[in-house]
């Protein structure tokens, strides 16, 4: 994808720097500026900081057209990211609350995660899509989702070489399915491309980046943050468990909503697939992945439940943002312009 447009003075300066590779770049001034921005803005809703984080993380995935790949491991750039991450993590811990759990067997862990998922009383985007959404709102919903779903499963794959034993086997079993079990064209990200194209949307990764508000970026930045830090391998596992446990029933609602709007297979395949797949994955992620990790090393439990609780909290904020906008008859996008192919 192309480097996105800047959203403030930090992203403006940083994106200018990124256009010409400089191994010894001095970013200390920018770091100071970033802290000043965060003195007055909530990092979860800071357009400037979230687009910066998104770009810094994306260097580890697929990078940007015309941007030197060596930036991925450039020490000053990593230093800037680390400073921003300190604030990001502190805020995530604040909205997640103290990790709440009791140590036990893998089944005990699964039961606690299922309870956390079912206690999640955030606003229900899936119910809204099922019953009320217009085609335009359904398109917006897909645009928000696209920044993760077009690279679905990738942030959790960072954890694979960092795990061993039962937890690793569980993660591999889930990821193998996410990536289409070796069948070309069957990756979940590719099913999502079909859904987007069915609604006249551009299915290229990042096509709608300019339209996505900070909180949507924060939800995917959180996954990259958990995934890229071995210290937080438990958190990306906890995130995956909650993600799977809050998926099969909402996806059945999404499928109903898109059918209500007149769409059918292959547009609805993505949702139908996730009803069946995630009813499997939630069991494996809760018991064998998260539960297996904690059984192997109880000291990881705090990270697992932090990830799980943060996933619930961020998801509630993303959902609230969309429902509030739609409730007022407005677009939930950062820019109300909708790019639709003829």
């Amino acid at each position: 994808m192309e480097l996105p447009e800047d959203r403030g003075r930090i992203s403006e300066s940083l994106f200018e720097v990124l256009r010409t590779y400089d191994p010894d770049v001095d970013l200390s001034g920018l770091e100071h500026e970033a802290f000043k921005v965060l003195d007055s803005e909530d990092i979860l809703h800071s357009e400037d900081i979230q687009i910066v984080l998104f770009v810094l993380y994306e260097l580890h995935y697929r990078g940007f057209d015309g941007i030197d790949a060596r930036w991925e491991w450039n020490p000053p750039l990593l230093g800037l990211r680390a400073k921003i991450e300190e604030q990001f993590e502190a805020r995530l811990r604040q909205i997640a609350g103290d990790p709440s759990f009791s140590l036990g067997s893998a089944q005990d862990t699964a039961r606690q995660l299922f309870a956390l998922a079912s206690a999640d009383d955030g606003p229900s985007v899936s119910t809204y899509i099922s019953r009320h959404a217009t085609v335009e709102q359904a398109r917006e919903f897909l645009m928000h989702k696209s920044i993760y779903q077009l690279k679905e499963a990738d942030p959790h794959s960072w954890a694979i070489p960092r795990l061993t034993g039962r937890g690793k086997s569980a993660l591999m079993e889930i990821q193998f399915d996410e990536y289409g079990a070796g069948r070309p064209g069957a990756m979940h990200s590719e099913l999502f491309e079909t859904t987007m194209r069915g609604l006249g949307l551009d299915s290229e990764f990042g096509a709608y980046i300019e339209s996505l508000p900070a909180i949507t970026l924060a939800s995917v930045n959180m996954m990259s943050f958990f995934g890229l830090h071995r210290r937080l391998r438990g958190s990306i596992a906890g995130h995956l468990a909650i993600y799977e446990m809050t998926s099969s029933i909402p996806n059945a609602r999404y499928a109903r909503g898109f059918r209500r709007l007149g769409f059918d297979s292959p547009v609805t395949d993505y949702f139908d697939e996730h009803v069946e797949a995630d009813a499997v994955h939630e069991q494996i992620a809760g018991r064998d992945l998260a539960g297996g990790l904690i059984e192997q090393d109880p000291s990881i439990a705090e990270a697992v439940f932090f990830g799980a609780q943060a996933a619930c909290a961020i998801d509630a904020l993303v959902g609230a943002h969309q429902l509030e906008a739609w409730g007022r008859g407005r677009s939930s996008l950062r820019q109300p312009k909708v790019k639709v192919e003829a």
Partner: protein, 67 residues
């Protein structure tokens, strides 16, 4: 039928997870198609995609039968 090496995990308040070398047949002996190697079989009776689980047991507060 080649079911050697198949494994069933009984999930409390949930489905049966079936993995390994298995084949699912309907009452007429016809194979039930599935694209995945590990499946979750409905145990609460409420799934809309039986024989597979769709997570509905979580809404029904399904309790597995006890001895």
């Amino acid at each position: 039928m080649s079911a050697e090496g198949a494994q069933i995990v009984v999930c409390p308040q949930g489905p049966l997870i079936l993995r390994g070398d298995f084949e699912i047949l309907d009452a007429e002996g016809e194979a039930v198609p599935t694209s995945r190697e590990t499946v979750a079989l409905c145990r609460c009776g409420s799934s809309a995609i039986k024989p597979f689980c769709d997570g509905t047991h979580k809404l029904k507060k399904f309790e597995m039968p006890r001895d």
